[in-house]
């Protein structure tokens, strides 16, 4: 995992930004199209080989200003289709996975508390699979993806109302090693 990150072009950009500017400014780069950023700045990657040791290193997957740090896709009640507003998020992860063939993700489906545990486990699985299908369409290999379901076991929000339920009907994208 570390190796793939170090060779990451994207990371190189981040690290370069980090070493010269306050971290807060780094996201500006990331808010642009990730494709453009990576290609135009690719030459920087070689010069940052030593940055691995830097305590300031920023992982694009966890940088709060990078879309890759966003990991939850939310679903409508009893639905398992990825809504348009989450396409950018899922596509960004697809791009990252295509560029990092060693990286692997576990897609974790979740449901709200209504209904029974085993059936909800199966429902959550469908949500994980829906995200997987979007990744597959963008060229991500099946070998990089495992879909599992937590059913109703891991609610993001406590409570028994729609506000909580809507946060719990989701699929989370978790990278191996996280």
């Amino acid at each position: 995992m570390n190796k793939s990150l170090v060779t990451s072009v994207l990371l190189a950009v981040m690290l370069a930004a980090c070493s010269s500017k306050p971290v807060k400014n780094a996201p500006v780069v990331e808010d642009k199209s990730p494709a453009q950023t990576t290609t135009s700045q690719s030459s920087d990657s070689a010069s940052t080989s030593g940055v691995q040791n830097s305590s300031m290193s920023v992982n694009p997957l966890t940088d709060p200003n990078n879309i890759l740090s966003k990991r939850s896709v939310y679903f409508d009640f009893d639905k398992d289709e990825v809504k348009p507003e989450y396409r950018d998020l899922v596509n960004a992860h697809a791009k990252y996975l295509v560029e990092h063939p060693d990286a692997k993700v576990i897609l974790q489906g979740n449901t709200d508390e209504r209904g029974t545990r085993e059936y909800n486990l199966a429902l959550g699985q469908r949500r994980a699979v829906a995200v997987k299908q979007v990744l597959n369409l963008q060229g991500v290999s099946d070998k990089q993806i495992e879909t599992i379901s937590y059913g109703e076991e891991k609610p993001q929000a406590a409570g028994s109302d729609e506000a909580a339920y809507s946060k719990n009907r989701r699929a989370d994208i978790v990278y191996q090693g996280e």
């Binding site: 209904g115 085993e118 199966a122 699979v129 495992e146």
Partner: protein, 424 residues
């Protein structure tokens, strides 16, 4: 039904049990015809602690089939046959009477004697003597209650059985096993990640369950005798919903090899995997019929989740639930004649039973978030999980809906009960 509920509400009994109970059991309602029985405190030598008669009385009362009479007003408290004056017990309307004694033997073992007497016919229905270790007093009391229950109702009792359930306390999950009255809880395994779907092997020596301890659902089988456990299914994706075949040699499980949840069978040692359902829908929650010939399961192949039945070798499945748009978690009674499941009814999830032959459906519970129904080995009660005041709690209802119990634990959530098999 409403009339019945009104009747039951007048019948509310709360019985606090002293001692180390994890679960406090409250009984709501009772059978229409309860058998009035007097359980006289046992004579005992100093040093013996639990009063066996108290445990026996609590067992009988909890079943809902008995009215355990107050005996303190009766002048004579007999412990053996010659001391019994039947008219005194007839005077308090007792139909049956139990008497007995506990005697300390040299070496610390105990001799427990007990008799069950018919007050009207003035004869003995049962008489037994047990030579036990001091630690076996509660177990012996449950055995005595089983004998009384069987003599007076004609059905085997389930007081000597155990239940398994999951607790969640301060973020930690524990799989626990306790006596059917909630006493002697023991932790089988615990984890910071969810544990679900405990299922007893038919011989009661093992539990299958699903643990997320490796950050994904994996099916384990653990021996309750040695504590040793084995991975039965750890395939890519989810491994869940274990269900023992009646001979204990195989498990039906649910895997997501083909993306969707599908039903498979596997040998209890993890070999011989075979896929049973081949759909693009959800197929889950398998359960075997008692004769092993068929498997009931939940599927949304027709839209919403409904219960289906197929041969245990796979093949065509027939839909068996038609009433309502959400019927899940099938469980079959020990005699194979009654199907229990969770039905969504006006937005509430309730325990329902369906007569297999006629298809007639009856909603049994009056709680709202019910899950995980589980038949007692004699088929008379159904234990299930529900939510009381926002906390996970267990409840039980008789298969005819008349007797209701609530089992609550202090300090945490209790969920996913599974009633163990009859003790041999």
């Amino acid at each position: 039904m409403n009339k019945l509920r009104l009747l039951l509400s007048f019948f509310l009994l709360a019985l606090p049990l002293a001692g180390k109970a994890a679960l406090t059991i409250e009984i709501v309602g009772g059978a229409a015809q309860q058998i009035p029985i007097a359980v006289v405190p046992f004579a005992k030598t100093p040093g013996t602690q639990d009063d066996i008669a108290t445990v026996v009385g609590a067992d009988l009362r909890r079943s809902g089939l008995f009215r355990v009479l107050e005996t303190r007003g009766v002048v004579n408290q007999p412990h053996d046959l010659p001391e019994v004056k039947y008219p005194e017990w007839a005077a308090i309307q007792a139909q049956a009477l139990t008497i007995g004694s506990v005697e300390t033997l040299p070496g610390g073992r105990l001799k427990v004697s007990f008799r069950l007497l018919d007050v009207l016919k003035q004869n003995q229905l049962a008489g037994l003597e047990f030579n036990i270790a001091a630690s076996q007093q509660r177990a012996t009391a449950h055995k005595i209650a089983d004998i009384i229950y069987e003599k007076l109702t004609g059905e085997p009792g389930v007081f000597s059985t155990r239940i398994a359930y999951i607790t969640k306390t301060a973020g930690r999950y524990a799989l626990q096993v306790a006596d059917a009255d909630g006493f002697n809880p023991q932790t089988v395994m615990s984890s910071n990640e969810p544990v679900i779907s405990p299922r007893w092997s038919p011989d009661g020596t093992k539990l299958a369950y699903v643990s997320y301890e490796k950050k994904k659902p994996i099916v384990f089988v653990q021996s309750l005798v040695t504590g040793q456990r084995n991975v039965v299914a750890n395939f890519k994706g989810n491994n869940s919903a274990p269900a023992w075949s009646p001979d204990g040699n195989r498990l039906a499980i649910v895997l997501t090899h083909s993306a969707n949840s599908q039903v498979y069978v596997i040998n209890a040692d993890g070999t011989g995997l075979k896929q049973l359902t081949f759909t693009t829908s959800i197929d889950t929650e398998p359960v075997w019929t008692p004769d092993g010939s068929a498997i009931y399961f939940t599927s949304n192949r027709g839209g919403g989740p409904q219960i289906y039945r197929m041969a245990s070798t796979g093949g065509d499945a027939k839909r068996v639930t038609f009433d309502g748009n959400y019927n899940v978690s099938p469980r079959i009674s020990p005699d194979g004649k009654t199907l229990a499941y969770i039905k969504q009814d006006n937005g509430k999830f309730r325990v329902a039973v369906q007569d297999v032959a006629s298809g007639q459906v009856q909603i049994l519970s009056d709680t709202a978030q019910d899950e995980s129904p589980s038949f007692a080995p004699n088929g008379r009660m159904i234990l299930y999980a529900t939510s009381i005041s926002g906390r996970g709690a267990l409840a039980a209802v008789s298969a005819d809906g008349r007797v209701k119990q609530r089992l609550s634990e202090t300090g945490g959530d209790v969920r996913e009960p599974a009633w163990g098999p009859a003790a041999n």
